[in-house]
């Protein structure tokens, strides 16, 4: 019996590791299994939030296949720019999928110049293009029409090594026209350039995690052995994006990091809110052979939401501004809606686009009713209209009764309306202890206030009854004592004479 139990528990434990991937969702119309994590960090089937709409390749656009495309940007104007690295061009298409423009090169002081394996792009509010021209080691700034505005070349600075080689990979620009660059081989953080292209410094370094077994090994090894060991250096950032307030969202691909997504304020501190049940790091349960999520792109959506792209499993994770995991979609495969090597994620309207380098195509995802309801509710909550969000959350719950965030959302709204008793139940369903404690504190105070008179009366009555009981008791005892005191005396007195 005990052995059987042991075996069972071992089998259960191994299931945890082997079967960490989501259980199959029944009757799914998507080529991937839709799931989300519950409070107990289990992958639970969930309705799909986004479903594949169509896929678009270079041939579909009539401009020949893309060759190893590596970045995609949806500008505020609604135009989509694709960095076609292998062909050294940037393709601009509109939201009706017509090619608007192709930037093969630019006019550099009279000479025709081109891109060499460009891999990053940013389009600022005015429509200017910032191209990370990787193999040429420069950032090229073009106007909307493709005229050269500026080139940011290899920077010169005291803090850069003499043999430093500038290999920009990804680029982002804030409202003050500061240019943020993720460059290859730079461990110090994100490179920051000012408006005229002067190197200012680094922001947001990734911290090196101390590994204690490694530390012990180092203590035990000789100097020669130490020299042979790998050097522990911070990981590089993999991608950056800019939100409307000028905060930089950055991802890194450090497999051990608990904070692979960062939101950097202007002084380089990480201010991402992580109020969810678990880390903002993609999949929290995974097969050991597969490994954790490798986040290679981040896209800031509206209302504080952001999506990150996991290259390892080909999944897109969308978080709310508070760090709650809202939904997950995508996967690896060959069907439309699954990816081979996803590299970039973008949003256009309510749709999301994923650029798949391996298959040289863009996959368009459209939200389902569930997905758009969640988006709507998050938007209302973000804008402080919690009361309006309640019916939307209820709709979400009708589609997915396991959606904890919806319970918490309703709870928060009830709390604001001072319906504390009802809020309690919702916070408990959503396993939100912070919300629960606030609601309970108010509820308890309310109850006490309401029943203060009754409670006090009852207490007084009990006290009076107790006092009366004690009094009669002691009186009775006194009497018996007196009586029994008298009795022997009487006997003695009787006997005395």
């Amino acid at each position: 019996m005990a052995a059987k139990k042991w075996l069972l528990s071992i089998a259960a434990a191994s299931l945890l590791f082997v079967h960490a991937a989501p259980p199959p969702a029944s009757a799914s119309s998507t080529p991937y299994e839709s799931y989300n994590y519950n409070y107990w960090e289990e992958a639970v089937p969930a309705p799909a939030a986004y479903i594949p709409d169509r896929s678009i390749s270079g041939v579909d656009l009539g401009i020949g296949d893309f060759l190893e495309p590596s970045d995609m940007v949806a500008a505020d104007s609604g135009l989509i720019y694709i960095v076609d690295s292998g062909n050294g061009r940037i393709v601009c298409i509109d939201d009706k999928w017509n090619v608007r423009n192709i930037f093969n090169g630019f006019d550099n002081e009279g000479k025709a110049d081109g891109f060499k394996n460009p891999s990053g792009l940013f389009v600022d509010g005015e429509g200017n293009l910032y191209v990370a021209d990787t193999d040429n080691g420069r950032i090229v700034v073009l106007s909307k029409e493709g005229d050269l505005l500026k080139i940011i070349d290899q920077p010169k600075s005291d803090i850069l090594a003499a043999d430093f080689k500038f290999v920009p990979l990804k680029v982002a620009v804030d409202k003050a026209r500061r240019v943020y660059v993720v460059a290859r081989g730079i461990y110090e953080g994100i490179m920051q350039f000012d408006g005229i292209g002067e190197f200012i410094g680094y922001v947001g370094t990734n911290k090196v995690q101390r590994d204690y077994t490694e530390y012990v090994w180092r203590l035990l090894s000789t100097k020669a052995q130490k020299a042979q060991m790998v050097l522990f250096i911070p990981t590089e950032f993999s991608n950056i994006d800019m939100d409307s307030k000028g905060f930089v969202y950055a991802t890194n691909i450090d497999p051990d990091s608990r904070e692979p997504v960062k939101r950097l304020n202007p002084s380089g501190e990480d201010v991402l809110k992580r109020f969810g049940y678990f880390d903002v790091s993609g999949d929290i349960r995974f097969r050991i052979a597969v490994g954790p999520s490798k986040l290679i792109d981040v896209k800031v959506l509206e209302n504080g939401m952001y999506s990150v792209l996991d290259a390892n499993q080909g999944r897109v994770f969308t978080y709310s501004d508070e760090g709650d995991l809202l939904y997950i979609y995508g996967g690896k495969g060959n069907q439309t809606g699954t990816f081979k090597t996803p590299v970039a994620i973008e949003r256009i309207g309510d749709k999301q686009l994923v650029l798949d380098r391996g298959r040289s195509q863009i996959v368009v995802f459209k939200p389902t009713k569930f997905g758009s309801s969640v988006n709507e509710a998050v938007k209302l909550h973000y804008n402080g209209e919690d009361k309006l969000a309640v019916p939307v959350w209820e709709e979400v719950l009708r589609m997915n009764g396991n959606y904890d965030i919806a319970y918490i959302g309703i709870g928060k709204s009830l709390l604001m309306e001072k319906r504390n008793g009802e809020a309690l139940a919702y916070f408990k369903l959503g396993m939100d202890r912070d919300g629960y404690t606030v609601a309970y504190k108010r509820y308890r105070r309310e109850l006490l206030k309401e029943h203060f008179g009754t409670v006090l009366t009852v207490l007084l009555v009990i006290a009076a009854a107790w006092a009366a009981f004690k009094l009669t008791n002691s009186w009775r005892r006194k009497r018996t004592v007196i009586m029994s005191g008298f009795a022997p005396q009487n006997v003695k007195e009787d006997k005395a004479p």
């Binding site: 052995a3 107990w40 912070d434 629960y436 309970y440 308890r444």
Partner: protein
């Protein structure tokens, strides 16, 4: 009845040296009281796991199993008693097995007394007040350990140092017993497999 089940355990709670002395030499301890106390501990732990307030209860209700909880308390209890008996027999302890069981059982009183009311109280607590909950739970554990210490010391008539050494050794012996138990179990399984195989072999050959 009242004397055995309520008055004496409560007296022992506050006057451990006196109480354990009476338990051993005045015959005031009863094995059935110790066993009832053990059962009460099991019940209070089960109740705590199930009904403690939401703010302090981090158990997944789907995985709560009263039988498992029973075993995780009763098994270590007797394992402790057996190991302690085994060690103290070698180390000139004066306690009989019965007395060890009684001393260990009576030492559980603070756990019973604190767990049950705290389970009720935790349902009316908010986050800031849960500190008291954890504080009282730790007090009950420390109190239990202290009683167990005094109990062992009195029952075996040991010095302080010897008691500490004995208790550490008891824990080690507990580990050894568990190890040997699993070893024997797996050996038995192999022997069983072996016999079954031989039987099959014979059946097929004839």
């Amino acid at each position: 009845m009242k004397q055995d089940f309520i008055k004496f355990p409560l007296h022992l709670l506050m006057h451990p040296f006196d109480g354990f002395w009476d338990l051993k030499y005045d015959g005031k301890g009863k094995v059935r009281v110790a066993l009832v106390l053990l059962a009460l501990v099991v019940i209070s732990v089960i109740l705590q796991n199930q009904y403690a307030g939401f703010l302090v209860n981090y158990n997944d209700p789907r995985h709560l199993n009263s039988i498992t909880q029973l075993l995780t308390i009763v098994f270590p209890f007797f394992l402790w008693c057996v190991s302690n008996w085994a060690i103290t027999t070698l180390m000139d302890g004066e306690g009989k097995f019965k007395e060890i069981v009684m001393a260990t059982g009576y030492a559980l009183v603070p756990i019973v007394l604190i767990y049950l009311p705290m389970t009720v109280a935790s349902r009316f607590m908010v986050e800031e007040e849960t500190a008291f909950y954890y504080l009282l739970l730790s007090i009950s554990s420390i109190w239990f350990a202290a009683l167990l210490f005094v109990g062992t010391m009195t029952v075996h008539q040991y010095t302080v140092l010897k008691t500490v050494v004995t208790m550490v050794l008891t824990v080690i012996v507990m580990g050894i017993i568990v190890f040997l138990g699993t070893l024997v179990l797996s050996m038995m399984q192999q022997i069983y497999e072996f016999i079954v195989n031989i039987y099959r072999e014979i059946i097929f050959r004839t």
